[in-house]
Symmetry: C3
Subunit: 261 residues, 3 copies
């Protein structure tokens, strides 16, 4: 993906620069006679350094191995964090590159060549889902439960991390499709950083064209974020996107193309 | 490719060592419904460190993304430099590993994990070609125009970089095939480093065997370089090559095998 | 592969941790018209840092190139060491991750991004085999000869490295299958580190289940190592393994799964 970015922080000068990210996943799997799937995954990512006008690749990231059978998947190494993968709680990526989420916890690292070793279990059975992840270095466990009914998914998550910190302690969300609008509502308690509330909706306005509206409020700093974006599908996994988001940190806008291959 | 190298610099002792380079390109593309091709490219290269007797791999290099449609290709990230890709101006690779060119400008980086972010546009329509590249970090633009007629290609290129430097400011070349000889003639003005003139010819002497002769003159130091090489095709993309080149810096000779897979 | 490890060194506290290793080989080859095979190989490996609870990937390793024809293979770059690849002399991997060998010499580096440049030649003709490897940086040559008859393989190896060191100077081994038991017997003279003697046997006790017993004795410190492991084949290249090994350094035990894809 790449985009032209306008970044106007409240602190410091505004800047425009070329944003870009290119990543490659390498996935290998095998199946045992008993039906277990065993696999491993690497990722390498090349990306811009904000407005520094340089492009960097840290090399291959720390790997993830997994075992899956039926609805259960167990991950080892560079695992997917439970809170980080909670659905409908974050605003997602507004435009091409501006990812906004109230969640603050450990997550899969796309560029880290040394990461904390984790273990995660992801389970789904019918309408019910569970995701537990453990960081063995800082001894932190995240857990999320979800339930889907009538097209809506309700999730609740928490962490056992006891330090007085700004990491997410409790989170809840609901989302789905209502009258043609994909929506998400979320709440996160981030300890010393206070409570966060999120809401967004996305809907099609014409063939291949989708618009979205985004809101986030943090009570600690009485900080309200408002954003909007538009996406036009080019086919073949490619899309043009443009977006803008404004909060207490300033205004961030971009326009560009994203694609998969 | 790998080769046995004899390197006799005028300053310092002569040395012989094993030269080698192994690189892998990873290319992914997708096509939109409208016929645009979108893609990305990574490279990893392992290579010797001259006569230090070690082999190094810096990891995956900084990536390049591109969009192409018809005769136009736009690159973002680790892009191909216009002057660096000008045809017929350099002497190319004499033998296995001795690359000689009068051009001094930014180029695609095979081993750099952090590079200046660039944008490039490459256009071809019939006999006409154009390549413009921009380094967003140092604000330098290179441009080359070329025209092909009757089997000969004429190119002219320049750079807007104003600093008193030894980088190429102006370059011109002509090349093609004449009476069974592939030839190239080039001129480059490298500012404080003076003017450079190049000439080379390559022709087949037997089935699968090609010999080449190379000349370069730099007026600043009254430096004349003379070289020759021979190549024997092994089939399957592999070839034996041996070459020698002598200039004011000393003598460099090697012999070895190069191959693609 | 990944495993749960119990490590109780005589010096320092015991610890348990999650062991893991994920590696990917990238191999490319081409064939010349004359029947030579030319190729190159890269590896990237992600692994745990013992009980530090982190996972690291150094990126792509230094590459290896090779030419092979008939029973001869010549390697350049990050080559396979002759002594390091001698058969039946080491105890191999006891359990999932505890690799034990009396050999101390240079070897193929799975994670090194800068390695000594080597050259190696590996030759086999009928019952006879030879492997010579040379490290061009420290000027060290290893050589191993082997001969197979009646299902038993006899090997003898040595190194020309003259420094008073603890590297292997001389080694000999014999191994094969005897009455349903795969066995190996080895001897290595490691200079200042004294003589080492090894013995092991592995045999199937039920369909898909194999057990092994391991012994190593070093006369310098009168150090005896004793180990055992069990392996259960899951099919599809995957297996459960558990093992334990005790010597003067302490006790090391693990249990886990290994797989190929």
């Amino acid at each position: 993906r790449f985009a032209y970015v306008y970044d106007d922080p409240d602190a410091g000068d505004s800047s425009t620069y070329l944003e870009q990210r290119l990543q490659l996943d390498i996935l290998g799997t095998t199946e045992t006679d008993g039906g277990l799937t065993l696999g491993g995954k690497f990722r390498t990512r090349s990306y811009d350094d904000g407005d520094a006008n340089t492009t960097t690749n840290n090399g291959m990231n720390a790997g993830q191995m997994f075992v899956s059978a039926g609805g259960l998947k167990v991950e080892v190494g560079n695992v997917d964090g439970a809170l980080d993968n909670m659905s409908y709680i974050g605003l997602g990526t507004i435009g091409i590159s501006n990812f906004v989420s109230p969640i603050s916890s450990f997550a899969y690292s796309s560029t880290g060549t040394t990461v904390d070793t984790g273990v995660a279990a992801i389970y789904s059975m019918g309408a019910f889902g569970a995701h537990v992840s453990y960081d063995s270095n800082i001894d932190k466990t995240d857990a999320v439960l979800s339930f889907t009914t009538a097209g809506y998914t309700f999730s609740i998550g928490g962490s056992d991390y006891d330090d007085d910190s700004e990491w997410t302690k409790l989170a809840a969300s609901v989302g789905g499709e209502l009258a043609g609008v994909d929506f998400g509502l979320g709440y996160a308690n981030n300890g010393d950083a206070g409570d966060f509330y999120t809401a967004y909706g996305q809907f099609g306005i014409a063939a291949g064209t989708t618009i979205g509206a985004y809101l986030m409020y943090g009570d600690q700093d009485d900080n309200t974020g408002v954003g909007a974006d538009i996406k036009y599908d080019l086919g073949g996994g490619a899309a043009l996107k443009a977006g803008v988001y404004n909060d207490d940190d300033g205004t961030f806008a971009d326009a560009g193309v994203q694609f998969n291959f």
